[in-house]
Symmetry: C2
Subunit: 501 residues, 2 copies
């Protein structure tokens, strides 16, 4: 079996235990790994490193660069062992989130399309080591990635040494699903030759200098995929509004009947929103996205969608079983690309992507907070939402109109952290309704957002704020700065944004 997986014979003597390979990680190093969502990330070596540090008390602090979030074996165990000094560009792990919010980890929250480019340009410092999960290695040393591509091609290119984790739980049939293309550096960069969602432009493996491969570890630890929450009524209502909006755009001739390629954010709400398309009248859909979740598999299964391009497959546990069992069905319907390509402004704008992302909160002028709850508490990160939103044909944000059992309004006078500005957000959807902000001035947007998207509990308070703000001297984007963030401040102090008696 291993001969199928490690086809270059000279490399077979690089096989060692995870404990041995983990010795290559030294204090002060920058380490880049595969992984994008809890999918395709190395597992055995980080677990061995954490165990060693826990046992020996050795002081090891590293910079950890990944594609996006990864599973608990990497982010969780290294956070709990306090091994991560610096972390980029995205995370969703409970232990790491606490470690970041406690101020113990320097966390960089980056646009995901920027990461490979900045690493390649030398803007993130030297990359000492890459740790890459693979399903196999070709005779020439080409690394065949598993369930995500992320930044692996660039990390392998620029790292001094490479550790490969051959994961036998990942089906070898994944071979052929990846399409690896790394743009040249300026001034030698050429147009990226993708004009259709299913264009293949690269190689099915990641080129790698065999001499850089310092260790090969064989493991069978499965991707620690996350369960998806059951689809609730609010998600269903939001999904319904989205479909109504898209149908209207088709009716007035601004979208074709097959729509344009869809991008959908990650998580339960995003999955539910996309899931609504299953019962819609749209046909022959295409997806050009980051992460392929259950609802996208459903769309492919049903024939509603013809093709999906992404950088990662991250279904639920049930979805992963279905994916593996039917891998030959999916194989000619899915391409996995480096995140530099899946999220590239050039391609997103060219293909005319419909971008659907989730907001933590929006303000009356259309600014979006995607990252910091109450302005200071990091949730996950901006991820690819900025790459898609800025360059989309239509950019859409969804959020339930309230959170915390109604004590938080997701529509506020001013967002407490800005990730997407008024210049980038076209459509806002809550379970209350749709605000189509295209072509509107700030004051026109405010009226629409308050009327169509805010929860009835908070509508009068927002109207009151907006009316009083308009009495100030300058009326382009009316605000009362001493009150603009007071809703958040009150929540921090009293646990509710509701008007206190």
């Amino acid at each position: 079996m291993l001969e199928n997986r490690i086809r270059n014979k000279t490399l077979q003597n690089k096989i060692m235990s995870a404990d041995e390979a983990a010795l290559l990680i030294k204090d002060g190093m920058n380490v880049g790994t595969s992984g994008f969502t809890p999918s395709g990330y190395p597992k055995a070596v980080p677990l061995a490193l954490a165990k060693r540090v826990e046992t020996t008390g050795e002081k090891i602090k590293i910079g950890l660069f990944t594609g996006a979030s990864v599973g608990d074996e990497l982010d969780g165990s290294l956070s709990r062992s306090k091994i991560i000094r610096k972390r980029l560009p995205y995370q969703t792990n409970e232990s790491l989130r606490k470690y970041i919010n406690d101020g113990e980890c320097e966390y960089l929250d980056m646009h995901l399309s920027h990461v490979p480019q900045y690493a390649q340009y030398g803007f993130l410092g030297k990359l000492d080591l890459a740790i890459i999960e693979a399903v196999g290695i070709t005779e020439e040393g080409g690394i065949i990635p598993s369930t995500s591509i992320g930044c692996s091609p660039t990390f392998i290119k620029i790292a001094e040494k490479v550790i490969v984790e051959i994961n036998t739980s990942q089906p070898l049939e994944l071979e052929g699903m990846a399409d690896i293309y790394i743009p040249n550096d300026p001034p030698h960069r050429k147009p990226i030759p993708i004009t259709k969602v299913n264009d293949k432009i690269g190689t099915p493996y990641i080129p790698c200098d065999v001499n850089k491969i310092a260790a090969i570890v064989v493991t069978d630890i499965k991707d620690n995929v996350r369960p998806l929450a059951p689809i609730d009524d609010i998600s269903k209502t939001i999904s319904g509004h989205l479909i109504d909006f898209l149908e209207h755009e088709v009716k007035v001739g601004r979208l074709p009947k097959t729509l344009f390629p869809l991008q959908s954010g990650v998580g339960s709400v995003a999955n539910a929103v996309l899931g609504g398309l299953l019962e819609s009248s749209f046909e022959n859909l295409l997806c050009y996205t980051e992460v392929i979740q259950d609802s996208m598999l459903d769309l492919l299964d049903s024939g509603k969608a013809l093709f999906a391009s992404g950088t990662s497959i991250t279904p639920s546990e049930e979805g992963l079983i279905r994916f593996k069992e039917n891998i030959n069905f999916y194989k000619d319907k899915i391409i996995l690309r480096p995140q530099e390509i899946s999220n590239h402004p050039e391609i997103i704008r060219r293909l005319g992507i419909i971008a659907i992302n989730t907001a933590i909160e929006a303000d009356i002028y259309g600014n979006i907070n995607s990252t910091n709850i109450m302005g200071t508490r990091m949730m996950n990160g901006i991820g690819g939402s900025g790459d898609f939103t800025r360059n989309a044909y239509i950019s859409i944000f969804t959020t339930p109109s309230t959170a915390k059992n109604g004590d938080i309004s997701s529509i506020v006078p001013m967002v407490a952290h800005h990730d997407h500005t008024e210049h980038d957000v076209m459509v806002l959807i809550t379970e209350q309704g749709v605000a189509d902000l295209r072509g509107l001035s700030p004051k026109e947007r405010a009226k629409l957002i308050i009327n169509n998207c805010a929860h009835p509990t908070y509508q009068p308070m927002l109207k009151d704020y907006f009316e009083r703000a308009q009495k100030s001297k300058f009326k382009h984007t009316p605000h009362m700065l001493s009150e603009a963030l007071s809703w958040h401040d009150q929540f921090i102090k009293n646990g509710t944004m509701k008007r206190l008696p």
Copy 2:
């Protein structure tokens, strides 16, 4: 002379007075015009419209769409006559600015690369009329633009009718400087085939259906160009820091000796900052920018720069004379492109642009306010700064560390309006020094910005804010929301951000 300018004979009977042509403008229309900076915009027809409304008291309200800012004959006279109901995407006119801040005009502040695309996609409503300044019309009806291209190609394409202002003060030698290319709509869009700053990919005229041309007005009103402020010591110091930074990047191998193509913002400070390159050691520079100002002509004159691509030529009055006198020298060193191409993410990222833009204020975490003074008072607009910043090889913002004789700190705890977020800003430069934010977490950025960029008067106050904020529970982007905007609030109330006794 006019036969040289209007080469299609059947069009000669469309020549009429500005007063007659202005009658084509009706209440409720959306009107798109040429013009990008006070350069290449229509002058005679808007002046005639304003005069008529002033004389007759007729009620006319229009939506006015342009490339960017335009001269006083258009924005000024139509604002003073209260003719503009809605205005996009940028402005710099004193009368219009007051009209916007008084709340009498619905103003949309847009990324300039988005405007032609949104107009073409139908997101801005129907365009009833285009008014385009030209140096001539070809035999086939092709419109030869004057000193700016802006959105003219798209406006001509989608407008129901077109008025052409043939401006005889604009030299016919401008013919050949324009390169007109309009991307196809998705799903038929192809890669934009520019891989070098001086690539020509289109036609030297704007294609136009002859039957759409409803009027031709001949005028000789000159572009109302703006004087440039003399270069002051602060601008010189900022320019010095910029050059030191770029030299360091060359030294460590992150930039070649000729740098990468430069983009520079518009205005006196930006002009001064770029002017510093004249005395630098860099050679064979290239510019891929929006607006070609005096300092860029200086770079071409001196041979320091080889080529400049933009969407507009806007020198000072002296610069304009120099440009016209030496137009044959400049003709093979300058290309003017539609703003969809000069500002296109695809090209900016491919060419590896060094983007240098001016901030109104920055905060300790690297967010930038480019538009709204004290959060509510519109200055100009975001312009192209977002197009370039997000997609640049290196994105740089410059600002003097204080304004209003020291009563405003340009470095604040939190910017009062967000145009560029922490995710996009790589380098901040004031006369105090340089903060290179690449690869840094929010807290690391804050330390560097406070130490290197803040004015000594405000440094202790910023340190105090940052230290106290770090005592809050969540320490990723530490803030005290009740104080975050208090500096602005205090300035509004007391006229200074300085600590009051």
